[in-house]
C-alpha cells in the first residue's frame, strides 16, 4: 500500500513504529496531487513541519495521533500565512493573518477547492475551475467541500476538513465515496471559518474511515471563547439502537439505485440486531424553502464585508459607492443571486413574510426531530437523492437547490449527521445517519457497525 493511501490511524502507527518518516509520508501525498482533479487551490510543499515531527520521533518523544499527518483544509478556513480565497475573485490574493481555532499543530498539505463562499452543491461555482470527482472525471465531486472530498477519495491527503451549511460536507462525501461528518451545531468553533450562514455553518472532517472521523473530530471540537455560539456540552451515553426511517425521504425524486442501496444497508442493520421503525418528519417538504430563505438572508449579511476597504480585491471608483459596485461586480453569478434574494427577504415589508416565516417553519422542523428522537436513537436516510451528476447537468439554480433535500433539515435543526459510503460498486452512494443533539459519538459508533461489517 502506498503511504498516501493510509488512514490517520495506520499512518500514525507507522510513524510511531518508525516504519517511515513524516517527510516520506508528506512527499507521498504531494506526489499524488494532480492538476486534473483540481482538488487543491493552493499546495504547501514546505517540509519543515514534517521534519520537526521526525526530529521528535528521533529523540524518542511521543507524538500526538495527528502529528505529522498530512491534512487538506477547505479554502474557507483560515490557515495563517496561506492564501484563503473562499473560491472567489474577491479574495484571490488574500493571505490569512491568523489561524482558525480548528487549525492546531498540523501538517497542512494545502487549501482545497470549493464553491465560491461555500455556496453551491457541485464545486462548479468556484471562480478557479471546478474540482472533479475521482470516481468519474466527467462528474461533479459534489459541493461545496468538493475539493476536500476529492482529495480524500484520490488519496491526495490522509484526511481533510470541510464546512457544512446545508450538506456541504455530507453530499460531496456521498458523491466521492468517503466519510463526511457535520457535527452538532456549536460543537466545533467557527472562529476563522469564512462565514456563510452563521446559524447553520459547522466545520467537520472528511476521512477514509469513520474511526478517522472520530479522531479528527476529537482534535477540533470544544467550546471556544472566540466563538460565542460554541458549546462544550458533554455527550450522553445511550445504549441499544433504534433506527428511524422517515417516510417523507423515500418519495418521488429519489433515484432507484440510491433507494435500493440505502434500504439494503438498513436491512443489514436489522440483521445486526437493530430495531428499525418508520417515522414521520411531517414538515420535510418545507425544509428547502425555509433553508434557502435563511441561508441567503444570512449570506447577504455576511458578504457585506467584501467591499474592498479592509482587505481583498479593491476596485477604484470615482467615489465610495462606485468602488463598492465595481469591487462587488466580481462575485460569481450564484453569489450575486443569493445576495440579492437575501437582501430582498430581509428588507422592510418583506422580513415578516419571508425571513420570520422561515424561522417559524424552522421551529416546526426542529420540533419534528425532537419528537422523533423520543422514539428512536438515530435516523437513517439517503444523503443525496442521486449519485454524482455530470458537469453542467444542473444549470438551473432551483434544480441544484433540490439536490440538497435530504441534508438541509439537519442544519436547520442544528443536529449532527454523518454520510458513509454504502455502495460496493458503481458510482458512490452515501447513507446519512442523523443523531440527536451532541450525539456525534453515537452516530459515528452506529456508522462503524456497518463499516466494520462490510470491511
Amino acid at each position: 500500500m502506498k503511504l498516501n493511501e493510509l488512514t490517520i490511524k495506520k499512518a500514525h502507527e507507522g510513524l510511531a513504529n518508525k516504519d517511515f518518516s513524516a517527510k516520506e509520508l508528506l512527499q507521498a501525498v504531494l506526489s499524488a496531487i494532480d492538476k486534473d482533479i483540481n482538488a487543491y487551490l493552493f499546495v504547501n510543499d514546505d517540509l519543515k513541519k514534517a521534519k520537526q515531527v521526525d526530529e521528535k520521533i528521533r529523540n524518542g518523544e511521543e507524538i500526538g495521533i495527528l502529528e505529522g499527518i498530512p491534512l487538506a483544509v477547505k479554502d474557507n478556513i483560515m490557515v495563517k500565512g496561506m492564501k484563503c480565497t473562499a473560491g472567489s475573485k474577491l479574495l484571490e490574493n488574500y493571505v490569512a493573518p491568523y489561524n482558525a481555532t480548528v487549525i492546531k499543530n498540523m501538517v497542512i498539505v494545502g487549501k482545497t477547492n470549493l464553491d465560491e463562499f461555500a455556496m453551491g452543491s457541485s464545486t462548479e461555482n468556484s471562480a478557479f475551475g471546478p474540482a472533479k470527482n475521482p470516481c468519474d472525471l466527467k462528474r461533479v465531486p459534489g459541493g461545496s467541500s468538493g475539493g476536500s472530498a476529492a482529495a480524500v477519495a484520490a488519496h491526495q491527503c490522509i484526511a481533510a476538513l470541510g464546512s457544512d451549511t446545508g450538506g456541504s460536507i455530507r453530499q460531496p462525501a456521498s458523491f466521492c465515496g468517503v466519510v463526511g461528518l457535520k457535527p452538532t451545531y456549536g460543537r466545533v468553533s467557527r472562529y476563522g471559518l469564512i462565514a456563510y450562514g452563521s446559524s447553520l455553518d459547522q466545520i467537520g472532517p472528511l476521512t477514509k474511515t469513520v474511526e478517522d472521523a472520530e479522531i479528527l473530530l476529537k482534535a477540533i471540537e470544544g467550546k471556544d471563547v472566540k466563538d460565542s455560539t460554541s458549546s462544550g456540552i458533554k455527550e450522553k451515553d445511550i445504549s441499544g439502537l433504534r433506527i428511524g426511517i422517515p417516510k417523507e425521504y423515500f418519495v418521488e425524486g429519489i433515484a432507484s439505485e440510491v433507494e435500493q442501496a440505502v434500504r439494503e444497508v438498513i436491512r443489514e442493520y436489522e440483521q445486526m440486531g437493530a430495531k428499525v421503525t418508520e417515522i414521520s418528519l411531517p414538515h420535510t417538504e418545507y425544509a428547502l424553502a425555509s433553508y434557502y430563505i435563511i441561508c441567503m438572508a444570512e449570506a447577504s449579511s455576511n458578504l457585506a464585508r467584501y467591499d474592498g476597504i479592509k482587505y481583498g480585491l479593491s476596485e477604484k471608483g470615482k467615489d465610495l459607492l462606485e468602488g463598492y459596485l465595481k469591487t462587488r461586480e466580481n462575485f460569481g453569478k450564484e453569489i450575486k443571486r443569493r445576495i440579492m434574494l437575501g437582501t430582498y427577504v430581509l428588507s422592510a415589508g418583506y422580513y415578516d413574510a419571508y425571513y420570520l416565516k422561515a424561522q417559524k417553519v424552522r421551529a416546526l422542523i426542529k420540533d419534528d426531530f425532537v419528537k422523533a428522537f423520543k422514539k428512536v436513537d438515530v435516523i437513517m436516510t439517503p444523503t443525496s437523492p442521486t449519485v454524482a451528476f455530470k458537469f453542467g447537468e444542473k444549470s438551473d439554480p432551483v434544480s441544484m437547490y433540490l439536490s440538497d433535500v435530504y441534508t438541509v433539515s439537519v442544519n436547520l435543526a442544528g443536529l449532527p449527521a454523518i454520510s458513509i459510503p454504502c455502495q460496493k460498486e458503481g458510482l458512490p452512494i452515501g447513507l446519512q445517519i442523523i443523531g440527536n443533539y451532541f450525539q456525534d459519538g453515537k452516530i459515528m459508533e452506529t456508522a462503524k457497525m456497518y463499516e466494520n461489517q462490510s470491511a
Binding site: V225, Y286, I293, I309, S314, L320, L364, K366
Partner: protein, 88 residues
Amino acid sequence: MKLTKEQIKETAGLARLRPEKEFQKDLPAILDFMEKLNELNTDKIEPVSHITGLENVTREDKAAGFKEDLISLAPQKENGCVKVKNVL
C-alpha cells in the same frame, strides 16, 4: 412572484450590487420556490432565535492585539488606519 425593475434596482442598491439583466430572469423563479412556506399556518409558532438555546454569551471587551497584521491587508492605509474615500 413578479419582481419589478424598481424592486430589483432598490434591492441591488441595498446590497451594493449593480443591477444585472439576469436578475429579472433568475430571481422570480427562486422566489416562487420560497412561496411554498405560505401553505403553512405559523401564527402561533415562535421563530427560532438560536438553535441550541444559548443566550447572551458575553466576554470582556478587550483587544487581542494583532492590529498590524490586519491593517497591513488594507488596500489603502495611513498612520495605522484603514483609509476610505469620503462617506459624505
